[in-house]
Amino acid sequence: MRGVALLFFALASVLAFQGTFASEAIHDRNEDGMELRMMRNDIHDVYIEKGTVWLKLTPSAASEFEQLTHQRLGKSLDVYVDGIHATTFDVQAVITSGTLEIRSPPEALLEKLQNR
């Protein structure tokens, strides 16, 4: 009986803990995110090979991408192409090349890029 009471008490403790202390646990994953929404006319060239897509951005889009990666250094970035979620990654460097690699892209994106 005493053991059951202790277990109940411990469970109650966890529930209380989850509702307060744990909810304050902030990780980079939980902070404000950023979405980069590209349209087809932002893309200068596309290369598709073995389930990977490489995008070469136009000079103006590449410049925007460089500025954005500068601002988002160390933070997460979601990339959408023509409204389709293409990839998510943490920005670890300022991307000056205007090149983006998308591994295992969704079929819908592949279709759009192949028919552009």
Partner: protein
């Protein structure tokens, strides 16, 4: 091209444990997990939690926070029922006590976490640069002292392995004729060449990926130069570079640094 700032929903990454004694292993991702360790119901009068993981390159700080919770307070505060807690980091060649204390040595306020009292939040931050690549263990325990009928607990949260270096060293070597540097690296790859010959040389580095750039210059004797290549996307990614020269006498050392090298968590890591 549009940039949209948005609020991410809070993802339920929290893992909860009531662990009287046990071991768990860190995921590859530097994650924030929360745990509550209680000594309640344990026949040996203590509860513990340990987590072992490898310290990745470029991640040389560990941080976290905890609270000591107890039902000994306020009734048994100042008595022999002086329950204790301990948080310890250990790795080959390094042992650090992150936090330790007991009921009588702690400041207390009423708790809303299911116990009578809680201490102020205790934050720890530890330089683990000497332990990179080694298996490290975080160990937490809470012990009953005097008797086992009144419980204490340790609430653990915000445990992070923090990235401290943007670039981490990768491979290195030397070329006396054209060659290839290739491997899994990150969004940015810096290749630094040093001309170790007594005469100048041209050097050209071509990124072999689609839309890869070619960069070239002339290196005077003993001169160093760094080429930077970048590509957006998840890490690691395949890189391959052709290194070539127009010079007859070519002798260069090189070293690679990148935002991702072997042993680091994948990006994104969740």
């Amino acid at each position: 091209m549009a940039v949209v700032l948005r609020k991410k929903s809070i993802l339920n990454f929290y893992l909860f444990f009531i662990i009287m004694a046990g071991v768990t292993h860190a995921s590859e991702c530097p994650a924030t997990d929360a745990a509550l360790i209680s000594n309640a119901g344990n026949e040996r009068f203590f509860g513990s939690l340990s987590q072992s993981f490898i310290i990745p390159p470029g991640y040389e700080t560990i941080s976290g926070r905890l609270k000591f919770l107890s039902n000994e307070w306020p009734r048994w505060y100042g008595s022999e029922f002086n329950d204790t807690y301990l948080a310890r980091f250990s790795a080959p060649g390094k042992v650090s006590i992150l936090a330790s204390g007991n009921v009588n040595s702690s400041e207390w306020v009423e708790s809303s976490l299911g116990y009578n009292g809680e201490t102020p939040e205790i934050n720890y931050n530890l330089d683990v640069s000497g332990a990179v690549g080694k298996v490290a263990t975080l160990y937490y325990e809470v012990r009953d002292v005097g008797d086992s009928s009144i419980a204490s607990a340790l609430a653990i949260d915000g445990v992070k392995v923090i990235r401290t270096h943007q670039y981490v060293s990768g491979e290195g070597g030397a070329f006396s004729r054209p060659g290839i540097i290739s491997g899994l690296y990150g969004q940015a790859v810096k290749i630094t060449f040093k001309n170790v010959n007594v005469v100048g040389t041209t050097i050209s580095v071509k990124d072999n990926s689609p839309f890869g750039e070619t960069k070239q210059l002339i290196l005077a004797p003993q001169q160093e130069a760094t080429f930077l290549f970048t590509r957006g996307g998840s890490e690691p990614m395949n890189w391959s570079f052709n290194v070539s020269t127009l010079s007859d006498a070519f002798l260069v050392d090189y070293k690679v640094e990148s935002t991702w090298v072997d042993g680091m968590p994948n990006n994104p890591c969740y």
